[in-house]
């Protein structure tokens, strides 16, 4: 698995090309607001079971609140 850092312009480009968005913040923060179409994939419970909702044929973009 490769993990490549990207900026928001590339996020937009990848989404338009069919990428999946996944927010790793806790449920409350995800529920308050998230990027359009993002699914909730909390970091604490990330694993093969939780990742099963993802489509393996499409790239995945993960994001948190910020880089800190």
């Amino acid at each position: 698995m490769s993990l490549r850092p990207i900026g928001r312009e590339e996020v937009r480009r990848l989404i338009e090309a069919g990428a999946q968005l996944a927010e790793v913040l806790p449920a409350e923060e995800y529920g308050d607001e998230h990027l359009p179409g993002a699914i909730h994939l909390p970091l604490k419970s990330l694993g093969p079971d939780s990742a099963a909702v993802l489509d393996r044929s499409r790239p995945v973009i993960v994001y948190c609140w910020d880089s800190l």
């Binding site: 698995m1 993990l3 900026g7 607001e33 998230h34 990742a51 973009i61 609140w65 880089s67």
Partner: protein, 144 residues
């Protein structure tokens, strides 16, 4: 896991800070971005400060932004009064004004502005780009 995974490192804060669309729940507390206005004056750093007199005459001040839209400072009546003849906006401005991000909780912000007797607060992106202004007369209410 066999995926191509990308990390949007700047995250949700970055996305919100440039005003891009999100899916937001109803009933969340209002933030600076819900009350900000765009009817304010700006100028370039190399603008002639003397030419700003009429624009600063109205309540408030003129915000100095560079070619990338980054907020550099403010020019108000005090700065014009103290500036030398022929000075530029950058030379007279009050540099590095306080700013908040669009997702700053609105009600506490307005309380702080009231206590500090601040009438306007610039709202900037995570890169420092000016995107709006919150005025103290903004009143929190039901979220949009």
């Amino acid at each position: 896991m066999g995926f191509d995974v990308y990390d949007y490192t700047a995250g949700k804060a970055d996305w919100i800070s440039v005003g891009w669309e999100t899916e937001r729940a109803e009933g969340v507390p209002r933030e600076a971005r819900d009350a900000m206005v765009d009817d304010f004056e700006t100028c370039s750093p190399d603008d002639d400060a003397a030419g700003l007199v009429e624009r600063v005459d109205r309540p408030g001040s003129v915000l100095v932004v560079n070619a990338e839209g980054i907020l550099l400072g403010r020019v108000g009546p005090h700065q014009l009064h103290d500036g030398a003849p022929g000075a530029t906006a950058e030379e007279v401005m009050h540099p590095g004004p306080p700013t908040v991000r669009p997702f700053e909780p609105l009600e506490p912000l307005l309380e702080r502005m009231t206590k500090a007797k601040v009438t306007e607060m610039a709202v900037t992106s995570t890169e420092g780009r000016l995107i709006g202004l919150v005025r103290r007369e903004a009143r929190p209410g039901p979220p949009p």
